[in-house]
């Protein structure tokens, strides 16, 4: 159930969304723009030019102190101690069963670690960090900062015009630059599979700078609807759907996020489960599924084998505007997870054929350093 309207929060860009004619929906406790012109046109604009996304609902947290990296490593399997200044990494908070409490981005900002966590998880994540590592470092939520993503093949030229120097950042690196007279923190990363930036900026500067970015000819505002179709085509996980407390990083095909030292040393919640799965393989695996025909297979769609036996479940499914057809992600028993394996998707009671495909559905076009 969605919370009643009066309890919903607003981002610093709320007035801008309304002025731009967005359709506003409740999402993770916030009033958020789901679309402006239409999901397909916004999606296509992002893949061909550049789109601006308000992701200020996401949590931003600083971890401060000399022990911050080692402390965070006690909660995540990523190599944080080895993260050099100006570098960013994707990791996840794990639980003792090896499941995931949230996924997050961590940046070494020199004197602190900057974390971006999911909106729906942020209160729990902050409580978790405060309880577990609050004595080892300062856990400092940053509600005074907005987060603006600019994504697409023309994002760099548009943003470099306003913030000269950002073009020197490579994928998954970050730094401070000035945009519209405001000092902001830029990382070259995102959630679309395209090149682009995420810009952390003081709430008081957010609307003015967002308008400045939207004044660039390449850039249009993009809602949550296209954000979801873009990330699904890019094969990226959505927390609470494709990954959750009952899926491990191995099952989610996120083994690449766990470096050699952490594999050898463990020392994160659920390490016994996760490292055993790393050696022996997980019982189920996240895969891409391409339905034949035109019918989308939505989240919770049952996946069966040729004999009609249930082998898994769709966790994200819909229509890919760039792909030009339906697409899905889900979990299947490992024995059925090889690329090319035929499966059935049971849509409204009817099994419809599909096959396991490699992710992503649409190739990533990141700016490699």
């Amino acid at each position: 159930m969605n919370a009643p309207a009066e309890t919903l929060l607003r981002t610093p860009l709320h007035a801008l969304h309304v002025a731009l004619g967005a359709r506003i929906v409740p999402f993770a406790g916030y009033e958020m723009p789901v679309q402006y012109d239409g999901i397909i046109s916004e999606h296509t604009h992002t893949r061909t030019h550049a789109g601006l996304f308000d992701v200020s609902h996401m949590g931003q947290v600083a971890l401060i102190g000399p022990d911050a990296a080692a402390a965070l490593e006690s909660l995540v399997p990523g190599d944080i101690a080895g993260l050099k200044p100006g570098r960013q990494r994707y990791t996840m908070f794990t639980n003792p069963r090896g499941g995931m409490l949230d996924d997050l981005m961590v940046t070494n900002a020199g004197d602190r670690l900057l974390l971006v966590i999911n909106a729906a998880c942020k209160a729990d994540d902050i409580a978790h960090m405060t309880a577990a590592i609050g004595a080892r470092c300062t856990v400092e939520p940053m509600p005074g900062r907005a987060l603006i993503a600019v994504q697409g093949p023309e994002a760099a030229q548009a943003i470099a015009r306003l913030a000269p120097g950002v073009e020197t950042l490579g994928f998954m690196t970050a730094g401070a630059f000035t945009i519209g007279g405001a000092r902001a923190w830029f990382s070259r990363s995102g959630y679309t599979g395209e090149d682009g930036f995420e810009i952390s900026i003081d709430n008081r500067d957010a609307e003015r700078v967002a308008r400045l970015i939207l004044d660039q000819p390449e850039v249009k505002p993009i809602g949550l609807g296209a954000r979801d179709s873009l990330r699904l085509e890019a094969g990226l996980c959505l927390y609470g759907h494709d990954i959750d407390q009952n899926t491990t990083p191995m099952e989610a095909d996120l083994a690449w996020t766990i470096g050699k030292r952490r594999r050898e040393q463990g020392g994160f919640p659920g390490a016994d489960v996760i490292l055993r799965q790393l050696r022996n393989g997980p019982p189920k695996k996240r895969v891409g599924i391409l339905p034949e025909g035109r019918a989308p297979a939505r989240e919770q769609t049952e996946i069966t084998d040729a004999q009609g036996r249930r082998i898994g479940t769709v966790t994200s499914g819909g229509y890919g505007p760039t792909l030009g057809g339906p697409l899905a992600m889900g979990y299947v028993e490992t024995a059925h997870s090889a690329v090319g394996t035929p499966v059935n998707l049971v849509v409204r009671g009817t099994p419809r054929p599909g096959r396991i495909v490699a992710l992503p559905f649409v190739p990533h076009r990141y700016k490699k350093g």
Partner: protein, 125 residues
């Protein structure tokens, strides 16, 4: 051609003798957004007033299209299979879903006319 009648689930129906054409309203297509898939019933299927007759899917979600009245499906709009966005471009014209042979014309009495439906939609905004 008679005028359109509407349901409170945002289907329209246009009656022509003992047959009728069914689709979804301009308001419905706008709320759905880009339509990417339409599932139409088999010809000859008996549909019941208020029960599912077809499915329409946007990028975000799947929604049922309910039969405004009971009847037998005598035609479906195959053009929607190739070009589902016809529903967005022409919801009350080329974007029709199906044609029915009416079972009971008396069922039409409970439907809204254009003015009543516009008032109903205004109340939802």
């Amino acid at each position: 051609m008679s005028e359109l009648k509407y349901t409170n689930e945002h289907e329209w129906i246009r009656v022509d003798g003992d047959t009728a054409t069914v689709g979804i309203s301009p308001y419905a297509q706008e709320q759905l957004g880009d339509v990417v898939f339409v599932e139409l019933p088999e010809i000859g299927k008996a549909v019941e007033k208020g029960k599912e007759a077809a499915v329409v899917e946007s990028v975000k979600a799947a929604s049922e299209v309910y039969a405004p009245v009971s009847g037998e499906v005598i035609a479906v709009n195959d053009a929607l299979t190739k070009d589902p966005a016809l529903v967005n471009r022409s919801p009350t014209g080329d974007g029709w879903f199906l044609k029915l042979r009416l079972k009971d014309k008396g069922e039409l009495a409970g439907l809204m006319d254009e003015a009543a439906y516009q008032k109903f939609v205004q109340g939802l905004k």
